[in-house]
Symmetry: C2
Subunit: 79 residues, 2 copies
C-alpha cells in the first residue's frame, strides 16, 4: 500500500526546484505525492500548519514536516 | 541508469529523521543514495560546500543542494 506524502509550495522558484527534483524523486511504489499550492489553496494553510509546516517548500511524510530550502514563510501566504 | 544522490548529515536527531524518512523514500530504481556523515568524514566537507551545501541534513540531487530542516551549519563541523 502506498503512503501519502504532501508537498506544499507557493509557486516560488525555490519551490519549483524542490518539486521537480525532490518531490518527483520519491518512490512511486511506496508514496503517492499530493502537490498543494498554498497560494491558491489558502484553505489548506491550517492543515499544513498542524502538520508542522512553517515555510514552503515543505514535504510532509509519515506525519513529519521536512522543510526543503526556504522559499516563503507560511505567514506570508495568508495575506 | 541510476542517478547519484548524496545525503550529507552529522548524526544529529534532525539528520536521522531526514535520513530515515526522506533519503530512504527516494525511488531506488532511479537513484543510488550515498549517505555521508560529515562529522566523521571531514575531508568531504569541501565537496559538500562546492555542491552548495550550507547546513546538514542536506540532499544533493542532480547537482542541486536541498537543505532539509536544519540540524547544524557546515562551519560547526569543521572544528
Amino acid at each position: 500500500m502506498s503512503a501519502k506524502a504532501t508537498f506544499y509550495h507557493a509557486g516560488c522558484p525555490v519551490c519549483v526546484a524542490a518539486e521537480k527534483t525532490v518531490a518527483t524523486a520519491l518512490d512511486p511504489t511506496r508514496y503517492v505525492v499530493e502537490v498543494v499550492h498554498l497560494g491558491e489553496r489558502k484553505e489548506r494553510i491550517g492543515e499544513a500548519e498542524r502538520a508542522g509546516v512553517k515555510s514552503v517548500p515543505a514535504l510532509v511524510i509519515g506525519g513529519q514536516a521536512f522543510h526543503i530550502n526556504h522559499g516563503a514563510d507560511l505567514s506570508a501566504l495568508r495575506s
